[in-house]
């Protein structure tokens, strides 16, 4: 049982929760995630990145977008209620060192997992440029926190309602072409965004890391459901990742695989709307 201490709504469907998980808070490092399950009998297990942790308070912070059955049910939980099962920290921690100049690109909810990584990279002495992307102004999350830690922040929206009216790949390309070519790019967001970030940096041979969000069940390397092709080899995101060399990832296959259960997800979503009388 993991008690929910706080809940804040960050945007229309993005929530931040502080949850008691002392063992996870003690061991976790940037880049790692947890798997949670709302109840042991019939609920599914879903992965969420550890956005932050407080070892002394024994809590971790989760930031999630209510996109389907489970995340919507989670969003309805109130402080004082609990999450029945929570396993972590999972995955390999981010490789943090002083690379020099680092560009962190975050799209949509990907900004949440990006935050602890940018924080760690900054702490290691890197010059950190952050590129944030969202569809519109209301969907931008964590701008303040990111601004506080970045040496430079570039905000982009698809419709121009905040910052530049550009896709994140446009400023990314400018940075690669500029005099201070980055030593490392970290891109986290929708698979399609990560794919195009990889294509943008490839001609400049800038090492690029992405964090994959494939479908998971156990998160311990037992089921193989999270497998992706990286450099022609089968890798498991939950134990070998979630971060990989973006230039080697087969994004097209990954995107197909993440739609494997669309029909059931859609049905659950409709159930949810009937049960709780809310819709998007």
């Amino acid at each position: 049982m993991n008690l929910i201490r706080e809940k804040i709504q960050l945007s229309a469907d993005v929530y931040q929760m502080v949850v008691e998980a002392p063992l996870v808070a003690r061991e976790r490092k940037a880049g790692q995630f947890i798997i949670l399950q709302l109840d042991s009998s019939f609920a599914e297990r879903i992965p969420l990145t550890i956005a932050d942790a407080d070892e002394t308070a024994g809590t971790i912070t989760l930031i999630f977008q209510a996109v389907g059955g489970t995340t919507r049910k989670l969003a309805l939980k109130k402080p004082g209620e609990s999450i029945e099962n929570l396993l972590g920290p999972l995955g390999q921690p981010t490789h943090v060192q002083n690379f020099g100049r680092v560009v962190c690109v975050g799209g949509g909810i990907g900004v949440a997992p990006l935050h602890p990584i940018a924080q760690a990279l900054k702490k290691a002495g890197n010059h950190v440029t952050i590129v944030l992307g969202a569809r519109n102004k209301d969907l931008v999350i964590l701008e303040k926190q990111m601004r506080a830690l970045a040496d430079e922040l570039i905000l982009c929206t698809d419709d121009g309602s905040a910052g530049r009216k550009d896709l994140v790949t446009v400023p990314l390309k400018e940075l690669c072409q500029g005099p201070d070519k980055p030593d490392l790019v970290v891109a986290i967001g929708p698979p399609i965004m990560m794919k195009f970030c990889a294509e943008t940096t490839r001609p400049f041979a800038v090492p690029t890391v992405c964090s994959l969000n494939s479908i998971m069940v156990d998160g311990t390397g037992m089921c193989g459901g999270c497998r992706v092709t990286v450099g022609g080899q089968m890798r498991f995101v939950c134990v070998d990742g979630p971060e990989f060399d973006a230039h080697l990832v087969d994004f097209d296959n990954m995107m197909l695989r993440s739609k494997a259960f669309r029909a059931k997800e859609q049905a659950d979503h409709e159930c949810f709307i009937q049960e709780y009388g809310v819709s998007q």
Binding site: S40, E44, G224, M234, L256, R257, D268
Partner: protein
């Protein structure tokens, strides 16, 4: 063949009325008909999750036990990996003293209700049975496992939880909660040590709860064993992945554990390494079975974990895992399920009973065929499997005839789902996070004859040592290691 359960019961009542109390010569015993296992109707059960084999009645158990010749040398005992005193327990069972029979079994095995159901008896205790030899048919040996199951089902609830010795002040960590760990935890706790069991999943039981399906091993039976552990005071910590939630070394160095038993199993699915294995609709058996069993995806009204609703399924492999996956697919509503296996039916490593049950339920067996390639449609979904045919050549090192490919025999099997069930390697997480642990080339822990690893104070047993093996072997190793740990703790 499946006979109506009520008919089997009636016949057994009649037969037992004739046999009861009579002195039986060996010849009489040879003449007693082997008791069939009552089972659900094949077509009905292929669409439900209820247990397939329904279990003997008391009379059937007594009749079957009466077939035992009570051989002086008891060759059956040497076939049982934990050396249950089989003639003695069968003797009690034949006299209807089922509690005493269970007592005999419990001297050697902690999980009779489970082993009676899932042991490959035909290659273990029943293989050397004199009765089967006399009848010139190993399948007519005394059905030891079925009687074992009966006495366990009939009497386990009447048994009080085992007595626990006074606290020793020593702490043992048991990692994993499969049969190896259950056995180790039970034995260590009974010796008075404080035992904490760490399990990564949200439910304890290991493969018994996430792999072996409900229709073969009902969850309530595993739950009962876990409940017994709780009753005797084993602290079970679920959602705890040793290596990540806490390093193994930290359990010893920082958390005050005096010894560790590792029973983490063989949980790394093997793939075929053929083209198309990452298409949508290709699952490892582990994933498919976990979704179906542990996550209860078969109950799609209530469960939120999705599973594929397949029409035509190919299962690659021929072991227990393949049978379980194929039969689960049927129960999830597939119209056609085919097992694709490289060798012949006789060579299948699966339990015989499961192969028979699968055949009865309508699973197709495409033997002497192997998948070469998986083909997809323009959406990246599975469309077909390309198979190649084989013939059997000379016997190889394992004593099985090795398959030889027949060039030009490629054929297409149209399916929308492929389940890869060709086995498991050991999960690499613990060895990656504990580099001091010595492993062999398959990643299995190297241990001495008592289960001690290359790391002091750390023992291991079950599939993590043996590679994918059996429940009874895992349990036996758990007990052996527990005995060694207890000796070690008594000395320090």
């Amino acid at each position: 063949m499946s006979v109506l359960p009520s008919l089997l019961h009636d016949e057994a009542v009649k037969l037992w009325a004739e046999l009861e109390g009579k002195p039986l010569s060996p010849k009489d015993r040879l003449g007693i008909p082997m008791q069939e296992m009552p089972a659900q109707d094949p077509l009905e059960r292929a669409r439900n999750m209820g247990e397939v084999a329904l279990g003997y009645s008391a009379e059937q158990a007594q009749i079957e036990a009466s077939r035992c010749l009570q051989c002086k040398t008891a060759p059956c005992v040497s076939g049982c990996p934990v050396s249950i005193d089989i003639p003695r327990f069968l003797g009690f069972a034949a006299r209807g003293q089922f509690q005493d029979a269970l007592g005999v079994i419990r001297e050697a095995s902690l999980l009779p209700a489970i082993c009676g159901r899932v042991c490959p008896q035909e290659s273990q205790c029943q293989a050397p049975c004199t009765l089967g030899k006399s009848l010139k048919n190993p399948l007519k040996a005394v059905a030891i496992g079925r009687v074992e199951r009966y006495v366990a089902d009939a009497c386990s609830d009447q048994l009080p939880p085992p007595a626990v010795k006074p606290d020793t002040g020593k702490k043992v960590a048991v990692i994993g909660s499969g049969p190896a760990s259950i056995a180790a935890a039970a034995d260590l706790r009974q010796q008075g040590h404080a035992v904490t069991m760490f399990e990564a999943f949200h439910k304890p039981g290991g493969v018994l709860v996430y792999g072996i399906p409900e229709f073969r091993l009902p969850k309530r039976i595993v739950d009962r064993e876990i409940e017994t552990l709780r009753q005797i005071g084993v602290d079970i910590q679920t959602n705890f992945l040793v290596g990540r939630t806490r390093k193994l070394k930290d359990l010893l160095d920082k958390d005050g554990f005096d010894a560790v038993f590792v029973g983490t199993g063989a949980g790394l699915p093997k793939f075929m390494k053929i083209e198309g294995e990452n298409l949508v609709g290709v699952f490892s058996a582990n994933e498919y079975l976990t979704r179906c069993n542990l996550m209860k995806a078969y109950d799609d009204q209530r469960a939120s974990t999705p599973i594929y609703r397949s029409k035509r399924v190919a299962v690659l492999g021929g072991g227990n895992v393949a049978m379980d996956a194929a039969r689960s697919a049927l129960r999830l509503g597939a119209e056609e399920v085919s097992i694709v296996y490289r060798r012949s039916l006789e060579e299948m490593p699966a339990r015989q009973e499961e192969v028979h049950h699968a055949l009865e339920e309508g699973v197709r067996f495409l033997t002497l065929k192997n998948a070469q390639k998986i083909l997809g449609d323009d959406q990246g979904r599975v469309r077909a499997v390309e198979t190649l045919s084989y013939e059997l050549g000379e016997k190889d090192a394992s004593g099985r005839r090795s398959p030889i490919a027949l060039p030009g025999s490629e054929a297409l099997l149209e399916v929308d789902t492929v389940i890869v069930a060709i086995g498991n390697d050991s999960n690499p997480l613990l060895r990656q996070t504990t580099p001091e642990l010595e492993v062999n080339k398959n990643g299995n822990f190297v241990v001495d004859e008592e289960g001690l690893t290359s790391l002091p104070k750390v023992w291991a047993g079950g599939d993590i040592v043996l590679g994918a093996a059996t429940v009874i072997l895992a349990m036996g190793q758990g007990r052996k290691a527990a005995a060694a740990i207890h000796r070690f703790l008594s000395e320090v």
